[in-house]
Amino acid sequence: MANVIIQVKNVSKSFDDFVVLDNVSLDVYEKENLVIFGKSGTGKSVLLKCIVKLLTPDKGTISIFDKDVSKLKGKELIDVRKRISFLFQSAALYDAMSVRENLEFALKKVFKLEQKEINQRVEWALDSVGLLNAIDKMPSDLSGGMRKRVGLARAIITKPEIIFYDEPTTGLDPITTKEISLLIKKLQQELNITSVTITHDMICAKIIADRSIFLKDGKIIYNGDLNSLFNSKDEFLRNFFSFDVIN
């Protein structure tokens, strides 16, 4: 049995009177690819943001690498964040910087690497996502798919142990979706990365998921393998994954 790398215990989070997460518990194992499903607004992104300490839960505890996230600050927090990456839905590229500068940023400021190694890593990361020719472009010159790829390159360049993906294929056409998903899978296998992915996209989930959970009204209503989820007898889940839109 692999080690638990992320542990979420009885976590609740509300915004004003609206309960987004309600007593959620979850274990993520080392090197597994966990996919999180759920309707929009059911707390998937909030859960991820609580795990990486962009948000603070109202109740419960979260630990990464056996460290209580709520107690992390200063150097300890930096050390944990050096070991993780996050690919945002919008890719969140720094729009005042070129692709090269986007990729170099953390390596220079946080990892303090030599320029020679930085150059090697930038080339490796961009080559991995097939965008070496876009190295000197600005984010505004890139298409949606290219931005996602650059975001992915930025996520892997620090060689993290965990990557969080917030809807990595949303807004992309089916071919690009498949390409990005295969790329995520390939990189995870090559680099032995643990991943937690939020997606609505079944192509993406089928390619990358080892395990899946389903969030509904702030609670986990399913935790298991993807095939069982797709073939669930539960009416809500059946409807969610149904292609039959005219009934």
Binding site: K49, R81, A92, Y94, D95, A96
Partner: protein
Amino acid sequence: MTKKRNSLIEFFATVGNLFNFTLHFFKVFFLPPYEIDVIKKHMYDLGVKTFPIVSVTGFIIGFVLALQSEPVLRRFGAEAFLPAMVSISVVRELGPVLTAIIFAGRVSSGIGAEIASMRITEQIDAMELSAIDPYKYLVVTRVIATTLILPILAVYVIVIALIGCYVAIILSTPTSVIYYITAVQDALSFQDFIPGVSKTFVFGFIVGIVGSFKGYYATKGTEGVGIASTSAVVLSSLLILIFDAVLVKITLIIWPM
């Protein structure tokens, strides 16, 4: 009644949050990394690019002030005092304050919009997750840049305004440059110059910190960028005027006229 109470609560919450935001600046100001290159870049982007607009403003301040004052002084036979009157007004008050207001209009709104846009597109979150302190990288560097560049702009505006004044004078009465410069030099003293320019450090700090504050806590998506930009100008202009009144009073206590 409830609406008024909510507005009042919101106002005090803003003041409190701005105070905490400013306090945090002084907490992290001395900590490395110092990002000298980023500060230089901001000084160029926020300051040097403001020179054209303040040049026009400065010239017009001096020119119009001289045109307006000249007939009044002439009525009392005191037109010889025109260079002295304009230079004291420009150096002590109009130059620094109007430069700061123009600077707030251009720069505070720009900082507010830029940081707000980074906030709503999750660039600030991305920076934080890369273990880079976004406050230090985005806010501290901009505030240092605005604090250092505004005094330079103010001195420049004062010089341009005095040129504007000279142009206005020679349009009505032929006057030699030497005579004008001597008259200005005789009218001005150290006590006029130092307080006037010193307060622009405070105004520069206000422009930077308010713009950053409004951008950093922007919400409501694209609409939030507009709100951050507009409210940054309003709040920083208001604070500049309030602090001007306080600083003038303090200056007069230290250096009585």
